[in-house]
Symmetry: C2
Subunit: 207 residues, 2 copies
DNA sequence: TTTCTTATTGAACGACTGTTCAGTTTTATG
DNA sequence: CATAAAACTGAACAGTCGTTCAATAAGAAA
């Protein structure tokens, strides 16, 4: 007579992936209130103690979740842009469209970022995840901007700085929309980004 | 023989002002860790119970602190702009300069906003304070933009939307600088805002 | 089948949280 | 000077939190 096992073992890497996924689900469901070891372990279907078995501290798990989520979204958007046929300017529009689509611009989804930003101030591990993923994000924007200049009569400008500006406006609009979606519509956010690039091409950030 | 009193009574309004000030000092000193009733009451030199005597809940005190801080800063910057002699465009530059000065652009100071944003997601009272003060902030920007159009050949644009865009970029830049001040300098942030307005005047957000 | 490694459990711990409330003390008023 | 209103105290309460660790059990290796 074979007993049903009380739990199933997993290799550390597989278990860690489970925990990261559970962490993100918790954030989506309950915001920062979901970020307790008890909430996460319950969501993952494991005991409280297991988190500290696989991670030195809870913050390390959260940092992993940050990195996973940010990387996935960036990849997602990069893919969409890559699939877009057209000029660099049109690819840029596709990029904006993806970012202001309901997939990314979801209140429950965006508030995760506020939690992460908040944690960046409290946890060194999360701060490092932020730095890393944000640099990757700006780099992608920079690439698009370079293509833009090559393909048109857009005047030269400081790519690094322009990427920071655009990235900053995107973050700021996300933030505001997340805190109060009644102030402006996703379509209006899109228009603002398009206008920003038009200003850039018109020479607003000329060297 | 007169005994030294164990505590001094204050009128509710005066005490509440003290508590708001103590809350802001706690935030500056310890970030979100300073936002406990024990931390605040200690900073204010009163007992834990007094907070709930004057406020229905801790969140109401924090919402008051949010409003006080945001209103003060806005007033401060508005004053600086009012004292500036020159064209609307020059006043706008004075506005940016004030916002990227070391008074506002201080890491310990900016991170307070992240805490407030984070709390907006958790507390209805704080959310209302955010909505109110943010609307006032955007309104000030809108006023400056209207003056800009009146005084120059700047093409007409959607004032409301433009104010949202500029406000969004300012928030985003604050956020990024606060999370990692090594990515760009205050001077570079200033340049980005100037460029944004130049783009606006060049017709990037034309109707 | 037995042995051994280690993933997993869950109670326990100590520290913290916001709120309550009975009792105390100040201070203005009669 | 007596009285009454209410500002104020601080212990107590019922939670929460992340981490620890001895005990347990799964499952691969011998």
């Amino acid at each position: 007579m074979t007993e049903t096992p009380k739990f199933r073992r997993q290799a550390p890497d597989a278990r860690k992936k489970d925990l990261v996924k559970a962490t993100i689900r918790c954030l989506e469901k309950k915001g920062s209130d979901g970020l307790s070891v008890r909430s996460i372990s319950s969501e993952a279907g494991i005991s409280v103690g297991l988190i500290n078995h696989h991670y030195p501290s809870k913050d390390d798990l959260i940092a992993d979740a940050y990195e996973k989520l940010a990387t996935d979204i960036l990849q997602n958007v990069v893919d969409i842009v890559a699939e877009t046929n057209g000029s660099p300017r049109e690819k840029m529009s596709a990029f904006f469209k993806a970012y202001f689509s309901s997939i990314v611009l979801d209140q429950k989804f965006l508030r995760i970022w506020i939690v992460f930003w908040h944690m960046s101030d409290k946890s060194e591990q999360v701060r490092l995840s932020h730095d890393k993923t944000n640099a990757g994000f700006r780099q992608q924007i920079e690439l698009m901007l370079r293509d833009l200049v090559k393909s048109s009569e857009t005047p030269e400008f400081n790519y690094r700085l322009a990427a920071i500006g655009l990235s900053g406006m995107l973050d700021g609009l996300w933030l505001e929309w997340c805190l109060n979606p009644d102030v402006f519509s996703p379509e209006e956010g899109l228009m603002l980004c398009e206008g920003w690039v038009d200003g850039l091409m018109a020479g607003a950030f000329k060297l």
